[in-house]
Symmetry: D3
Subunit: 116 residues, 6 copies
């Protein structure tokens, strides 16, 4: 992996703050709406984070996968459940997603080490 | 919608059979694997069908959305829960998914009419 | 083309209303935010509609292309300017966008006939 | 299928001509370059048409698939060879490509009927 | 960011030269056509560079975004105008584009530092 | 390039083993099916590896491109033939694939140095 989880999280929060400080109302509102999409509604947050993980995997965005892997662990999904969700993404998205699945497994190892 | 649900399902099962009859072992195995991905494992089928719906929506495949909308209804997800899942897809995938969300709403109406 | 411009617009406004009536707050807010993204800001609406057209073309969404072609004509972009923008999309997105460029030309003919 | 092969080909050549007549030099050159990409070079045309078919399938463009299926038949690829190429696309691109593979099989049936 | 702007530009021009030296006529012509797409036509270069930026963002290509951010600054688009264009891309492309928007903001900081 | 070929191959085989050891039957089967897709069938392995390269390029996956570049060299495709295949991908996929074509040329240099 090019970047540790801590480095990713530092860059992410630093740049989110810089985007926020640029004072573009549309961007601020979209960031808020993105946050709200995972809050409890007809579906609970736990289910929605798994949806976010699968969406991120089929769209092949490593940073988004990392973010949702952390959130899925926080919401109580087990390693085996996360892998089962990644398998749905792998079948839907095909072998082109394999490099992202590899990096997801490396991130899971990192997340598990932090939580151990 | 260009096609009714019944027309979609007829074409789908007809062509699946034709693909099966072409006797390409790799394709047959992939179709089987695709089916198995939604069978109960660490996650239950109900959860996996919702993952399939969101994956299909962010990847913008109307036929795949139709298929998973039918399966989500069969698995017991309510209209409001399906809409909440589509909202996650809409936020992840952006306004480019809106035409697919429109067609998903039209399909839901059709599915509900059949089940009424 | 499978659908006339009038048929597209009828289906679009009908389904937008149905989505609105489903009362999902997140979806309502996203639709509002999508609308606001094209309102005057640091850039004017005219420029933003051309950005929307090019984004829709490289992402290969016919309905989105149709919508922005209508809006670009309303905002005063000439046929030759729209074609020049489509050319940027064609070069960025490659020959896979050609079928969408063909349908864009057919839609432009329809839009010009309405405005004649 | 929404459209017959003959209808597709009529619309395609009509719109290609309209695009040509719009006299945008960049578009004209890109269409020429697209044509030249499949002419004999270090690789022969036959091999390149199969590459075009697989690229079109993983990018999920039905019109492009139809075009290359016709060309692959003209270049002498057998039905079983085309299916083997579609299988590579299916594995690379995942189940999201299945609806396009179904339509490819329907088109092959149509192409074979014309050549019978 | 994995790479500084200077490192990106060095690798870019080095590899462009290597591609040019490979003497593939089709590639050479495409590179020329890509360059010409942003030259003044029915639209001016300034507008076209903004189109290129939005196309690059919704297609989620960091190198392409970097290139067009530099060009947009050279063409005279202000920081607030570039952010307004990125917002159109964010709304069209959804939250999956956020990591690219973050890196775009980091690049803008780098470009501004060079021009200060 | 962020990573040498040797580093890529070490990470790839390490993570493939970790995925295998996670004992998810669906994933194991998909990895096997992915391997089999390139074995001789109606098409030979050499042709299929070129299909894999073009599919990887239009879908813009650097790791997949690296993998198939190595395999294409092993199967006996010459540098000029690989470049001709990349040109098909470039025309189909557009200028958004250029950064990946640049990295493909850098990888080819690395592969040729190893084989020299």
């Amino acid at each position: 992996m090019a970047e540790t989880l801590a480095e990713f999280q530092k860059f992410r929060s630093e740049m989110n703050e810089e985007i926020h400080n640029s004072n573009h109302l549309g961007m601020k509102r979209f960031f808020a709406l993105d946050h709200q999409a995972y809050e409890p509604g007809a579906l609970d947050t736990k289910t929605k984070e798994l949806l976010g993980l699968v969406a991120s995997t089929v769209l092949r965005c490593d940073d988004c996968i990392t973010y949702h892997l952390v959130r899925c662990a926080e919401e109580g999904w087990s390693r085996q459940q996360v892998i089962d969700a990644l398998n749905v993404a792998l079948i839907v998205g095909g072998s082109i997603t394999i490099p992202h699945v590899r990096r997801a497994f490396a991130r899971m190892r990192e997340i598990e080490a932090l939580n151990a």
